[in-house]
């Protein structure tokens, strides 16, 4: 198995954290190989933020360090969806945060899974900052890419004790979308 994942949104939406958690979950707790490259503009809020992940069970399949054609994508904002949609395979699986994404390209065969991650986070958790974990939960719950327990261990490790429970709560909320 080899997957290319593209996660993109505006700075401040926690894009890189999704990448970090996925990376730790896959590499340390799922015996998978991962390459992740992060890119962002200098401004913390508002600019493009993007994480490219290549995940494979075979080390030899980790080659080019960036996404060439994503199998799976998360778009947390309309601006980055427009900018990076060409990097997603025409039959790719795409997760969108409906809070900020209103229009989807019509000429592709994406399998689109959508929910208002930000609104859900605000309404159910009381903190929009964990919308990213809701999205990650949605992705994990529907793709079964990685065991959810591995992701929770990764959350504990990456976000630290103070914010761990909140993030895991958001992650579980995402896991159950559509269930």
């Amino acid at each position: 198995m080899r997957y290319e994942l593209l996660i993109a949104g505006r700075g401040g939406q926690g894009i890189l954290l999704i990448g970090r958690v996925l990376g730790v979950a896959a590499s340390k707790y799922s015996n998978l190989y991962v390459t992740c490259s992060e890119s962002y503009v200098a401004e913390t809020r508002g600019g493009d933020s993007r994480a490219d992940l290549i995940i494979s069970n075979n080390e030899e399949e980790l080659d080019f360090i960036k996404v060439r054609k994503a199998d799976i994508a998360i778009f947390m904002h309309q601006a980055q969806l427009v900018k990076f949609s060409s990097l997603v395979k025409s039959n790719g699986t795409v997760y969108v945060d409906e809070t900020y994404v209103s229009e989807l390209p019509s000429n592709v065969g994406w399998r689109v899974l959508r929910a208002s991650y930000t609104k859900l986070a605000e309404r159910e958790i009381g903190n929009i900052r964990v919308a990213n974990m809701v999205a990650l939960g949605h992705l994990i719950g529907t793709t079964k890419l990685i065991n959810p327990e591995a992701v929770e261990m990764a959350i504990d490790e990456v976000v630290g004790e103070e914010w761990s429970e909140l993030n895991k709560k958001a992650f579980r909320l995402g896991l159950n979308i559509g269930v």
Partner: protein, 374 residues
């Protein structure tokens, strides 16, 4: 053995600790700074010292001093900082001082683009310091290799009493990958040879059969003399042809004659390859992706990847390209290392594929050039 998820810079720092680092001196410079910060936080808990100096010149000279005090010592920098360090690099070569310098390349010339990648400095790293010498330079292509080759860099620097450079770049510095970390005794750690004779018989620059002199350090009672001037085996300045020739040739030959101990390269499907791509560092990842793609289409392409960039293992290069009709050298610069390849493969068609890309050249960009030739 343990698994970690680290960036290239973190892996270099982690490896340095495993190798026995006890002193780091540095000056902050993008994209190398995380090495410094990681060590500043971790090394003091392992009995080491991390100091920030007023510039890169002071940093590397302090590293040389610390090495003579008996510590494994390193610094890290990028192009502008390395330019400042080269005089002292020459001192380290002349005084046979073990040290490791992590050089994280960024886009130049001058200040260029501090946060973005390139491989512009592969020739500078080899030739910038004055005098004649052989310099050991390793180039990793993954976070795992940032770790493995940094440990190797320390081992070689201690084994041969030479400065060793770990040449990374802004791309590798900041990608995250899974790393397998092995600590001693799972990984072997080399320490410099100590004198086997008493003080009155000890000469700090008298080599053994491997051309490497045992190293006494300050405070051990040997009355060592670190000498930047041309010196004899005692460290005494001598301005004669005889001493100059003996010293310079030994400094060169102790690297060349021990090449079998330091050589490192990787090949992928070169045995039946009509075309061999040669690439190093992060760019080799792109070449490798292209080769996998072309192979799936039945095109016989292979990869030769020197991990030891300097001195180039000429025999390995020749053997890995022996059947190739054409050789392509892919670099994220204007095409510079290709000159070294062409020098060795002078009877082959060697084609330069220089691609300036501030991230990393893509497989498509490489193929765009390559397709005209196959």
């Amino acid at each position: 053995m343990r698994l970690e998820y680290l960036t290239g810079n973190h892996a270099i720092a982690e490896a340095a600790i495993i190798a026995g680092l006890k002193f780091y001196a540095g000056y902050p410079i993008t994209p190398s700074t995380e090495i410094f910060e990681y060590l500043a936080s971790k090394l003091p808990t392992k009995g080491g010292v991390v100091l920030q100096f007023e510039d890169e010149i002071a940093s590397i000279n302090a590293v040389i001093g610390a090495s003579w005090a008996g510590a494994k010592a390193m610094t890290a920098t990028s192009g502008p900082g390395f330019s400042l360090m080269v005089e002292a690099l020459s001192l380290a070569i002349m005084t046979e001082t073990p040290l490791v310098l992590a050089y994280v390349m960024r886009a130049g010339p001058s200040t260029g683009i501090a946060t973005k990648a390139g491989q512009y400095d592969v020739m500078q790293v080899r030739w910038a310091a004055h005098g004649n010498y052989e310099l050991v330079v390793y180039a990793p292509w993954s976070v795992q290799e940032c770790l493995d080759l940094t440990i190797k860099a320390f081992n070689v620097s201690e084994m041969l009493r030479v400065p060793v450079i770990l040449l990374s770049d802004a791309t590798l510095a900041h990608i995250w990958e899974r790393v397998v970390i092995r600590e001693p005794p799972e990984v072997s750690i080399v320490n410099r040879k100590k004198p086997k004779v008493p003080r009155d018989k000890y000469k700090p620059y008298e080599p053994e059969e491997d051309l490497v002199p045992p190293m006494a350090c300050f405070g051990e009672g040997y009355r060592v003399l670190v000498e930047s001037l041309t010196h004899d085996e005692r460290g005494y300045y001598k301005a004669t042809n005889e001493v100059q020739r003996r010293l310079v040739w030994r400094l060169v030959n102790k690297v060349l004659k021990n090449k079998h101990l330091i050589s490192d390269s990787a090949t992928y499907l070169v045995d039946d390859a009509d075309y061999v791509l040669i690439a190093y560092g992060s760019t080799a990842r792109s070449a490798y992706a292209l080769i996998r793609e072309l192979r799936s289409k039945g095109i016989k392409v292979g990869l030769y990847r020197p991990k030891l960039l300097w001195p180039l293992d000429e025999e390995m290069l020749i053997n890995s390209t022996i059947k190739a009709k054409k050789v392509f050298v892919v670099e994220n610069n204007v095409g510079v290392y290709v000159r070294e390849i062409s020098r060795v493969l002078r009877n082959k068609e060697v084609i330069s594929i220089p691609i300036i890309d501030i991230e990393v050249p893509t497989p498509d960009e490489i193929f765009e050039v390559m397709k005209e030739w196959i």
